[in-house]
Symmetry: C2
Subunit: 430 residues, 2 copies
């Protein structure tokens, strides 16, 4: 039986949850890991704030280096978020031979390669379950499970704020800004919700899901990202009539030998495994060639869900220390050759398109003519209202088409005098 000394940097809500679990469940964790996990030191800038958990004042410090440089500490838990100084702390801790547990998706998405390389070089473990989808144990599954499988796609609803907003718009027929206000009132959206609703948070998580699924590091700037700000409640209800829901999806998939990685609102058939993931729930669908499709669905946020993931990681590090098996699993399985990233213009997809057109004879012929001339064939059309000489929505579902062809067609169509505002196109995922 070994003692495992933990130092925690960041004593906010998640940090407090981690401390509470480590305190309350010490004997359970001992049963489960064979190691005695002890909190040696906790660092935070604010030591006076009221917290939901009591700790011995002697273990508190405002100086992270007292943790990083403490030779008795085995595991450094980084919970301060952001790139700096989190990165410097982690790299220094790795160089001091400490194992790392982190919940910092922004950091790993931006600088993961350097951090993982350092961990490999210095022979320490780095665990990051809480950096992906908190209560959904997808990192462990992708990193250690599915050993027999090649993954063809990983699709995630990985932002609870966006999923809450879209679910509410769908259920209640309200607009985006009303749904956002409700999310803010309920505490599901920040006062400044930009990082969530513009898709950035989803993109951070997608970098990690992609890495774990395909062994390839994609830079955030290379990920095509659309947020949900422009999603219109009309589009949600038209999609519904065609048998679809609209979800903000983080997608990484292999297609014709290249990798497609994007975050975008997407139409999903109501039968799709992800279609019924509603409210603040998150889910990740892994398409594995042997195991088949596997869906993981749970809470993507919440201090205890994140703390659970962090402590689960600490338990794994403790097991490794206890059985002297650090580096038993790599952070991710590198591929022999780098995978090529497909540009968004080169992808092929089915599309939902909404045109705002003057209702006059021949309009549909014009639209479909231009689509056809760009090689886009129509699967179905719906024009719900008839108001001659007024603007009405015309909905078209296409067959598979190349994105660049679609964009060119829409440019041409939007120049027609009968088209009264910018056409809306949303990709459809099988």
């Amino acid at each position: 039986m070994k003692k495992v000394n933990v130092g925690i940097i960041g004593f906010g809500t998640v940090g407090s949850g981690v401390v509470k679990i480590l305190q309350d469940r010490a004997s359970l964790l001992f049963q489960r890991t064979g190691a005695q996990i002890k909190i040696k030191r906790i660092c935070d800038q604010d030591l006076k704030k009221k917290r939901q958990v009591k700790v011995n004042k002697n273990i508190l410090t405002r100086d992270a280096w007292k943790i990083i440089n403490d030779p008795e500490i085995d595991v450094v838990v980084e919970l301060i978020g952001g790139i700096h100084p989190a990165k410097e702390f982690i790299i220094a801790a790795i160089k001091n031979g400490k194992h790392i547990v982190t919940a910092n998706k922004a950091l790993l998405a931006a600088q993961g390669r350097e951090i993982f390389n350092a961990a490999k070089k210095y022979g320490v473990d780095i665990y990051f379950e809480a950096s992906a989808v908190a209560g959904v144990p997808i990192v462990k599954a992708l990193r250690e499970g599915f050993a027999a499988d090649r993954i063809s796609a990983v699709l995630g609803i990985v932002n609870g704020t966006c999923n809450f907003i879209l679910s509410k718009m769908t259920k209640e027929g309200i607009g985006f800004s009303q749904a956002l206000k409700d999310a803010q009132l309920k505490g599901y959206a920040e006062k400044n919700p930009a990082l969530d609703i513009n898709g950035t948070d989803s993109a951070h998580k997608l970098v990690l899901l992609n890495l774990l699924s395909f062994g390839s590091f994609v830079k955030i700037k290379d990920i095509y990202v659309e947020g949900i700000v422009d999603i219109n409640s009309n589009d949600i209800s038209y999609a519904d009539e065609f048998g679809y829901v609209i979800k903000l999806l983080a997608i990484a998939k292999m297609s014709h030998g290249a990798l497609e990685v994007r975050v975008a609102p997407t139409l999903l058939s109501k039968n799709h495994l992800l279609a019924n993931v509603c409210g603040v729930y998150n889910a990740v669908l892994v398409e594995a060639d042997m195991a088949g499709p596997v869906l993981f669905n749970g809470k993507g946020a919440g201090s205890y869900a994140a703390a659970s993931a962090v402590v689960s990681d600490i338990a794994d590090v403790a097991r490794n220390i206890n059985s002297s098996s650090s580096r038993r699993v790599a952070e991710y399985c590198p591929q022999a050759a780098g995978l090529k990233l497909r540009k968004i213009g080169d992808i092929e997809s089915k599309y939902y398109i909404r045109f705002s057109a003057i209702d006059s004879p021949g309009v549909l012929a014009k639209i479909s003519g231009i689509l056809g001339s760009h090689g886009i064939s129509i699967a179905s059309v719906a024009q719900r209202e008839r108001r001659l000489t007024k603007v009405v929505p015309v909905i078209i579902m296409t067959h598979e088409a190349k994105e660049n062809n679609l964009r060119n067609a829409l440019k041409e169509i939007d120049r027609l005098s009968v088209i009264k505002s910018k056409s809306v196109a949303i990709r459809v995922e099988r």
Copy 2:
């Protein structure tokens, strides 16, 4: 880098899948485990059968002891199923210091305690992902993940045959026997489907889910089991009107300090995370107190889904061998004190009840009077048809009631002259 020699007992469909994956993905598995996994020997009674995979004839044998007693073999993979001689093979292999990977749910459900104790005594690992829900990686999640959590309930749709049948009855409004025939035609049900449709297969899996969630071994004979044979398409459609679906659930949950473990058709609200798991899909919902509810959803059967789970286990054993960390995780975390099992009569549940009653004034008053005298209060009532002096269905949804009280009330009600056939009661899960 170490070599890991594998011996496979049972070269049927799953065995062939395992061999194929190990052959085709040797280098991928090396990348993922750091070990070279080699098939040293394969045993089967029938060596002449055409198989989808080619192997060197020299490694084939009809004598399992050539694997069990081979000092060069590190891992014995048991895929013959059944209790005997699988148990003798496994115990002997454990005594010879071999690690075990098995897909044998019936054996582990019946004799798991002895097998796990032997593994512990002889310091070997035993992995059994394919014994639970095949393509759904729930064993790894419960055994290694959720280290911070106490689980309050685990609910599973763990039999694809039953879920296919119930889904088909729900979607198409057809009866049980028609749906069973369709399942047999599609290869989703055996010619003799008893083990599936009477709930036995679900009960085997539930023994393992319960063990992993609560650390307590429950004997199969102590599990209350109802199959789906008596499910009536009318009940499915009445449930639908009340906002529910009917699923065959395997349930293990803590309630008032005791454990409830049962397999039974159950009403689930259409919003329930398990309600949309349809067709041959399986799913397990884990209610964890920190992580929150987590749903795992995937293919519960199919030779490659099972083979994927087996190879994933072999990979874990290989990692343990490679890093000299066998017994890094226990099979399950034992609880300090044995949990008491609640008898089915003592559980409390909401119920859906269908009475077949003569439509005459005062019938409802009689029924509700008897229910009330047994302490059962009514949440809602529906009588859809009015056919005076004819038999009509009366549907009652109750509030929480004790099962014994309900049974006594139904006995009394069924003796009424206005009741024309045995009343049907189905539990409702929140």
